[in-house]
């Protein structure tokens, strides 16, 4: 935790001061324990309510896009006013708690119970390394980014356990599909952040954020998303994150039009809600990491906006990304299984590899100035747009809008 300079605005130091006030008097080993417990408690509380209101936001935005108001009728328990359905997530929570939890007789009882627990556990431990604010990093790890994606990779295990334990033909098939999708999008996800580590020179999340400090010409922040390879990496990262959290164009495993509810068919009650909690936590974690890697973490976009506390900036960017996820869900149809994997292997992975080369070129030529700077940008852009257009044409070979003829009347 970098030392808290006294000159920082009060709001910036507030979380630390609050925590030290609470645990200042404890002897050393206990203070560390209580501090980490407080950190865990805060993360669970903040992102738990964010999850609750994210489900509500999703349904209301989806509604508004479809010209209908979305849920606005759930009253608070004892007061009769129904303001904008803000009590909807609590109602959903109570509903999922009171629903009967049916476990099929032939199911593998242990695995059936363990799957949602493991899935949620791994989704939550990924929050340990995301820097939420200038001094708000739960755990300071040297290989923070690798930790994040190691924990993310273990969720596949839980999906397999869910599909296998339900002893149901549909859910096993769907578990296989889900695994194929998760594995084939793991590669572009990892390849998307390797250039950031290459340029930032460190695997630690806090160092990556500090590497994106400062502004060029006074207003353009040094965020990686404003470099050509950074923007391409950001887009690949977001697309792969969509696939990793089973969101819209890639929500094949839960495709109602094919295999009922995929690997969730045999789950009901609170376990079913746990799966969705895990999916939303995964989505929040992935967009948190996207912010850290590409959008300058908790940095303010403009110098004179520095007085707003850093965690507020992180929150704002997180909300914008999550709304983008919901917006994409409201618009796009679903890809078929073979198109999904072909898109990953034949389009995203090559682009990510080329982007890696592009980032290497960018960091090698960082000392170019003046006219060379323009050439540097031009080469970098060509290295992105060229393969994108060529491979895009090959990917959508037989697919184009058609012109129709009319019968000779």
């Amino acid at each position: 935790m970098s030392a808290i300079a006294a000159t920082e605005p009060f709001l910036e130091r507030a979380p630390q001061l609050l925590r030290d006030a609470a645990t200042g008097f404890l002897p050393e080993p206990w203070r560390w324990l209580v501090n980490s417990l407080i950190a865990i408690g805060v993360i669970l509380a903040v992102f738990g309510t964010l999850f609750a209101f994210l489900t509500l936001a999703e349904r209301k935005i989806l509604g508004r896009v479809q010209n209908r108001p979305g849920p606005n009728r759930t009253p608070l328990p004892f007061i009769k006013i129904k303001f904008f359905g803000l009590a909807q997530p609590f109602a959903d929570g109570v509903k999922s708690l009171t629903k009967e939890d049916i476990v099929p007789r032939d199911a593998d009882q242990v695995l059936h119970f363990l799957a949602p627990v493991v899935l949620l556990a791994f989704s939550i431990i990924t929050f340990a390394v995301i820097p939420f604010g200038r001094h708000l990093v739960p755990v300071e790890l040297d290989a923070g980014v690798l930790y994040f994606f190691a924990a993310g990779a273990a969720t596949e295990l839980a999906v397999f356990m869910a599909g296998w334990a339900s002893h149901n033909k549909y859910s096993l098939l769907a578990a296989m599909r889900a695994l194929a999708q998760l594995i084939s999008y793991e590669l572009p996800l990892l390849l998307a952040w390797v250039p950031v580590v290459l340029v930032a020179g460190s695997l630690s999340t806090t160092e990556i954020v500090t590497a994106q400090a400062g502004w060029k010409f006074g207003f353009l922040p040094h965020w990686y998303v404003f470099t050509p390879w950074g923007f391409a990496g950001f887009v690949i990262f977001i697309v792969a994150a969509l696939a990793e959290s089973n969101r819209s164009p890639f929500d094949l495993p839960e495709a109602e039009s094919e295999l009922i509810a995929g690997h969730l068919t045999e789950y009901s009650g609170f376990k079913y809600a746990l799966f969705f909690m895990a999916e939303y936590f995964g989505m929040i974690a992935l967009s948190g990491m996207a912010i850290t890697l590409f959008l300058g973490g908790w940095r303010a976009p403009l110098p004179f906006l520095e007085w707003i506390p850093s965690y507020a900036w992180f929150g704002a960017k997180l909300i914008v990304l999550l709304l983008g996820f919901i917006w994409i869900r409201a618009t796009f149809p679903r890809l078929r299984m073979d198109q999904l994997t072909r898109f990953a292997w034949k389009f995203l992975v090559p682009l990510a590899l080329i982007n890696l080369g592009n980032a290497a070129f960018w960091s090698l030529t960082s000392h170019w100035t003046g006219a060379l700077q323009l050439i540097r940008w031009a080469v970098s852009l060509v290295l992105i747009v060229g393969p994108f257009v060529l491979m895009g044409r090959k990917l959508s070979a037989g697919v184009a809008p058609r012109v129709y003829r009319y019968a000779p009347s």
């Binding site: 790890l141 397999f160 793991e186």
Partner: protein, 171 residues
């Protein structure tokens, strides 16, 4: 601190042992994965974060999937494994193999000069690790890469032929 070490050691060994004993292949595969987690915990305890997370990412992320897919798709695991009665010959050969492995390991352990006093473990940063990997050990890295690719291609070819011959004798 060695209480934590003991706990992790017991956990890893127990899950590996139970994995061998179980009838249901999927359960044993999952327990094997639990023991890999134990291994990663060892690395963490030793302070090598990068290796621990690499272990989790590679083993628990990918190799566990390969194991589970293999268990599901190989034909042999479908019939109940006919365990022949325990004959004397098999027991003797098992003992022999066990003994040779034990001897080799023991020689290696005693030959290396173990520093008795626990010196402060040198905290190697990821950057130095990278430099080491790309420097003196670059050849080893490339060889491992080649082996993995060959294994991958072999698996694909096997799966293809597996599918081909299953077409002929399928009903």
């Amino acid at each position: 601190m060695n209480a934590a070490l003991a706990f992790i050691a017991v956990l890893t060994l127990a899950s590996a042992a139970v994995a061998m004993a179980l009838r249901n292949l999927i359960h044993s595969a999952l327990l094997l994965i639990a023991s890999w987690f134990g291994l990663a915990a060892f690395y963490l305890w030793a302070g090598a974060e990068f290796v621990a997370f690499a272990q989790v990412l590679v083993y628990v992320g990918a190799i566990s999937m390969v194991v589970l897919f293999a268990v599901l798709l190989t034909r042999r695991s479908r019939q109940d494994l006919a365990v022949e009665p325990a004959s004397l010959g098999r027991a003797l050969s098992a003992l022999l193999v066990g003994a040779t492995v034990a001897v080799v390991l023991a020689r290696a352990i005693f030959a290396t000069p173990l520093a008795v006093a626990p010196t402060a473990t040198p905290t190697i940063s990821v950057r130095q690790l990278g430099a080491q990997l790309m420097g003196p050990h670059a050849a080893a890295l490339l060889v491992v890469g080649v082996i993995l690719t060959v294994a991958l291609l072999g698996a694909v070819v096997l799966a293809a032929t597996d599918r081909a011959d299953s077409k002929e004798n399928a009903p």
